[in-house]
Symmetry: C2
Subunit: 351 residues, 2 copies
């Protein structure tokens, strides 16, 4: 009898027609085959190839670590500008990067619904692989579970990221200071409106495309400019309004925005108006808020605008003293209104 | 007007009667309230209190890092001996620990189904908090998403763990050597049969209780014994049979088990026989396989048996040369049979 390995026992996965069944989550031969022929094939790297229950990684040196995680349940799974796969990579990279850290490694855990098509799964995993390669942040370990039909929704992906930050370089939402300038790296609301448009056919003529992107390159360019950074954060669920309220609360300050300064694509503004949504509350997946000393703002803005992901960057407001930690906005008409936290759900399952 | 914070805007969560709604996943005020009043309240520690998109952690020193993740979809959520909360903590700690690392930090990402009871969620989060405290491994960052009713199943929890391992101390499934002894730390199949019994009322008179437990303390005791360790792994999904086949494949060896040596509780053996299940394929959540040089086996066994989680440890077989990487077993009757990979699903959603 010739030497056998597990692989020779099985017919190859039928990626085109095949579907996830409960055995793919049972931890036995079918799970191993799914890992070998789909996950490892596309995501393959030296850490996944270790084949253990986790990844053994190099010592990260003297810096502090940053750890962040996000479950992704976006619906639909595919949308203009991206899919759940690249979104799951970008989202966690960004959460690590806005803390001032260099993202190093990702884990990815999949919860699959019985009956989910292997072709769609392969497309999603390829998109993750491409996003991870482009970002230079490998997916080093993972997990696969399967739930019965009707107990999930195709696929949910949870990614966790580890980054390293040099001593004294970490950023936090508590570091905004009175007198600081508030910047955003580009137009608001693209991701959320792209998802909404993908869900329903509103007959919008102008296509709206998600901005999903990894921001650590932009952040590195901002650091390299020499401008001092007090806070970075990516305004995802809840939009810019909620992110600024979080920072205002953490830092114990107030904020005043200028409505005329907010960069919003005309198609997004029109779609928001049509649907009665406020772009300040619509999710972004490739944008960041930066808060820096007023004196550094123009310099930082120039650095952002010279990076492909910051071309539409703008200075949108200032930090001031306010014991109530209100975020307010001077409107186009010259009035002033509150920009409160998102209450209730504006758009479910946006990421 | 007195100073206001976000917290004063809201009535407290009704933990006893309340239910998850879509707003709890929208990233706005309801999400923040759920985090403050439920997650942070029970899991609270200095890292979660940072309030940023991730946790800023101390530099782990000169050791290598280990990263591992697991999604938990166990059904039912509560079972004799544990629940999805403590299971999610133990499972990931064990995956980090069997690689030879000291588990340091966990992340936890929740996918909640609309309508899920806050009382059940609170019970689960308290169980996680207790398990994390007992293990000395804090949950330092997290995420919460909500999916519509019928698109999830109560709660899924994905945990990711980071550990550190001293240079040269890392373990891998590829290090089993011909002549090594194979040990298990205790009785087989307890977790899987406890879950199955919790799902259906089989009328078993003897209660079967999950063995869910964090194993890093036992592993530390094994290390302290001075016995050389080649491989550690926790035989979860797919059971001991699948775990040994994985190791045999990784190490390029064969294995021979002694059926008479396998520790199995009489109640578990009886339930398995009644249901036509093989305990070798039933999941464990607080057991490990250890492979060590034959000369160290008795010494290692003694160290395991003197730890509370290793009282029923046993030497169950040996590693030998086999180009086919077969795992075989000498049966009680003196014959020899193949112990193959788990094929298909024996028990879905066991962890």
């Amino acid at each position: 009898m010739p030497p056998e390995t597990r692989k020779t026992y099985l017919r190859p996965l039928d990626i085109r027609q095949g579907r996830i069944d409960m055995a793919h989550g049972a931890g036995g031969r079918a799970t191993a085959q799914l890992i070998d022929e789909l996950f490892a094939r596309h995501l393959g790297n030296e850490w996944l190839a270790q084949g253990d229950d986790g990844a053994l990684l190099p010592a990260p040196g003297s810096g502090q670590l940053v750890m962040s995680c996000d479950s992704h349940v976006v619906s639909p799974l595919f949308f203009p500008g991206g899919d759940i796969g690249c979104l799951a990579v970008h989202g966690t990279i960004n959460d690590v990067a806005v803390m001032g850290a260099t993202p190093l490694w990702l884990s990815a855990a999949f919860i699959l619904e019985e009956g989910f098509g292997l072709a769609e799964l392969a497309r999603i995993v390829q998109s993750m692989a491409q996003a991870a390669r482009d970002a230079g942040v490998p997916i080093v370990t993972g997990d696969t579970k399967v739930v019965e039909r009707g107990k999930g929704d195709g696929v949910f992906i949870t990614t966790t990221g580890i980054g390293v930050v040099a001593p004294g370089q970490a950023l936090s939402g508590c570091q905004a200071q009175v007198g600081d300038a508030i910047l955003v790296s580009g137009t608001l609301g693209d991701h959320g409106m792209a998802i909404l448009a993908a869900r329903e056919d509103f007959g919008f003529t102008a296509p709206i495309v998600s901005d999903t992107a990894a921001l650590h390159g932009l952040i590195a360019a901002m650091r390299a400019s020499g401008a001092q950074l007090h806070v970075l954060r990516d305004p995802t669920r809840g939009g810019l309004a909620t992110t600024l309220n979080e920072i205002a609360r953490q830092s114990g300050v107030g904020m005043l925005l200028q409505e005329t300064a907010l960069p919003i694509k005309p198609a997004v503004a029109a779609a928001c108006e049509f649907l009665g949504l406020d772009p300040l509350y619509v999710a972004n997946e490739g944008k960041l808020v930066a808060i820096c000393p007023c004196a550094d703002a123009q310099h930082l803005l120039a650095a952002m605008q010279s990076h492909p992901l910051g071309r539409d960057a703008a200075i949108i407001g200032t930090v001031h003293e306010d014991a109530r930690h209100f975020v307010q906005m001077t409107t186009c008409l010259g009035g002033r209104r509150m920009v409160d936290w998102l209450s209730g759900e504006q758009l479910p399952r946006i990421c």
